[in-house]
């Protein structure tokens, strides 16, 4: 064992030492009978990276995580942590920390016993065990809870204890399957920030599963979007949101309208920057409501797509205002504005014409892969 590891998690908590492992998944296939849950998934997670698997229900996120943890047995492919191949290795020999959606805390053990359990299994002495549990519990904002029973804890506290138990034995990587989904929104957002800080302090490699695209955008270094057992795009959050590689991703992350490019006036746009799809008549333009500008009739600047529409409805929502309109060609379009006084004053009324501008840096072109068409190669 390298010398640096002996400083342990407490050393890491104190110094932010980066001792995390790289995870290399190649050509992973998992079938349940005739159903393919993972079809040729390849993915490299960097040392200390926070990677989120995001995708609709049934897309294979849990299956991928369980394959890493050793509870699903892939049919073929390889998984390496650092340079150790772990396919076929029993779960308890993988040294992976895992946080479950249901927390999976042991009800017949106290908080302290839960957290110390992995240390006990590793033959750590009693005094050392208690010392390390105590420190890790402080790190997750649960100091002094050692003697509580699990059923005396709130959901948020259970979640923290589950995290403490998963990190106390210094696993090579940490897996989390929707760890916050059982909590209410406010607590969830609080814990997201805590997790983010904890990740920074530990510097561990974390693979995280969520349904919640906002959570993914908030927490991740990179996001891998999955659909039907495949990874359809891997990118940093901003890249993912601003430049989705396919209609599926554009639709899944954030709200977007997908309009055939021919519905817009694209005469001012520099087509050379639009990529391979610029001349494809079936290409779809990703239109996000907050990226649209309401402009005057004579507005014409290079780099903009323009749309002509008629306002249907203006809906005030407190922090924002949504303007619903219809294009000449019949499609509905939505514009999102802030709710400052000046903005509200300038908004068009229902029934009046509205010209919209969309800068080409604020959009991308995608092909329609939603109806089973193969995803766009990126």
């Amino acid at each position: 064992m390298p010398a640096a590891r002996s400083t342990g998690i407490n050393g890491r908590l104190a110094e932010g030492r980066d001792l995390a492992a790289v995870v290399t998944i190649s050509h992973l296939v998992k079938k349940y009978g005739a159903f393919t849950a993972l079809s040729d998934v390849s993915l490299t997670v960097g040392a200390g990276e926070f990677l989120t698997l995001l995708g609709p229900s049934g897309s294979g996120k849990t299956t991928l995580l369980m394959s890493l943890a050793g509870f699903a047995d892939p049919d073929s492919g390889s998984i390496r942590i650092g340079d150790r191949e772990i396919m076929g290795v029993e779960p308890h020999k993988r040294n992976i920390g895992m946080v479950f959606q249901s927390y999976a805390l042991f009800p017949h053990m106290t908080v302290g016993e839960n957290v110390a359990y992995p240390l006990k299994l590793r033959g750590v002495g009693r005094a050392d065990r208690e010392d390390r549990s105590r420190r890790v519990l402080s790190a997750v904002q649960m100091p002094g809870y050692e003697n509580r029973r699990i059923d005396q804890l709130s959901g948020g506290q259970r979640q923290r204890v589950a995290v403490a138990r998963a990190i106390v034995f210094e696993p090579d990587i940490i897996l989390m399957d929707e760890p916050l989904s059982a909590l209410d929104k406010k607590l969830r957002e609080e814990l997201q920030i805590e997790l983010k800080h904890l990740h920074r302090r530990l510097g561990s490699t974390i693979i995280y599963v969520t349904h919640d695209q906002k959570e993914a955008l908030t927490l991740s270094d990179r996001i891998a979007v999955m659909n039907r057992g495949q990874i359809v795009q891997i990118a940093k959050p901003q890249e993912m949101y601003e430049h989705p590689a396919s209609a599926f991703v554009a639709d899944f992350i954030g709200y977007s309208l997908l309009l055939p490019i021919a519905r817009s006036d694209s005469s001012s746009v520099d087509k050379s920057q639009l990529g391979a799809l610029a001349d494809n008549p079936y290409a779809l333009l990703v239109v996000r409501p907050e990226k649209l500008d309401i402009v005057s009739e004579d507005h014409r600047q290079p780099g903009h797509f323009y749309f002509t529409s008629e306002v249907k409805d203006v809906v005030y929502q407190g922090d924002i205002v949504m303007v619903y309109a219809r294009l000449k060609s019949g499609e509905d379009i939505v514009v999102r504005r802030d709710s400052r006084f000046a903005t509200l004053q300038a908004l068009p009324r229902g029934g009046s014409p509205m010209r919209l501008a969309l800068h080409q840096s604020d959009t991308s072109l995608v092909t329609d892969d939603r109806a089973g068409v193969a995803p766009l190669a990126s």
Binding site: G70, N95, M98, A104, F106, Y117, L121, D151
Partner: protein, 268 residues
Amino acid sequence: MRRPAIGNLWLTPFAILVVLFLLAPVFVVIPMSFSDSNYLQFPPQVWSLRWYHSYFDAAEWMAATRTSLLAASCTVLLATPIGFLSAFAIRNMRGKAAAVLFGFLLLPQVVPVILLAIGVFFIYIRLRIVDSFLGIVLAHTALAVPFVVTTVSAGLKRFDFSLDQAARSLGASRFRAIFDVMLPQIRLSLFAGAIFAFVTSLDEVVVSLFIAGGDNTVLTRKMFLALRDQVDPTIAAISTLLIVVSVIAVGVFMLAVQRDNRRREENI
């Protein structure tokens, strides 16, 4: 406790009738065992403990009792792990295979017991284990396993298997995870299964009539023979004792359940 709704009040006398009907034999047997009469008499004219003396002073009765208790204990030791492991396997199987295995394990309690007894008898003749202690324990285990499988399966249904996965991800081998996490969670079901197994063996008479004679005569068989040869009131005393043992077994179990519930409530 919730009070019954007014509309359900007629249920109470009905329930009492049912209980009385079920307990009637017990109310007959217990007084009879304290009779001084030379034959089974109800209600007894003169009270005495002579049939208890007759039981405890007879070496033959004591030997049969020892065999019965030993067989029941060995049945518990065999049937409980077998039943647990079967229930565990069934829980981990998918689809039809699980249902088939479950049904298969229940067979000894589904097949008419007289058929089972004849079958076992003929097999035991081949194996030369008629009237052997091993033979008794094996047959009783087969009869007890269905109860253990049923109770443990019910317990496992409530067990959250992510606890098992959590233990293993934290470094526990499969075996260790079962001991550290699963068994503490399902211990009441296991306990119930063990008690069922014990009582099943202690109570069993039909199969024992065929295969549990000679030096290894069990209590129930001896009682049956005693009834056939001459109506010996000793069996009323023994029946009373068996009832006491069963009541104690069930009582211990109820206490365990209650303690468990109380602990759970205290922690809410």
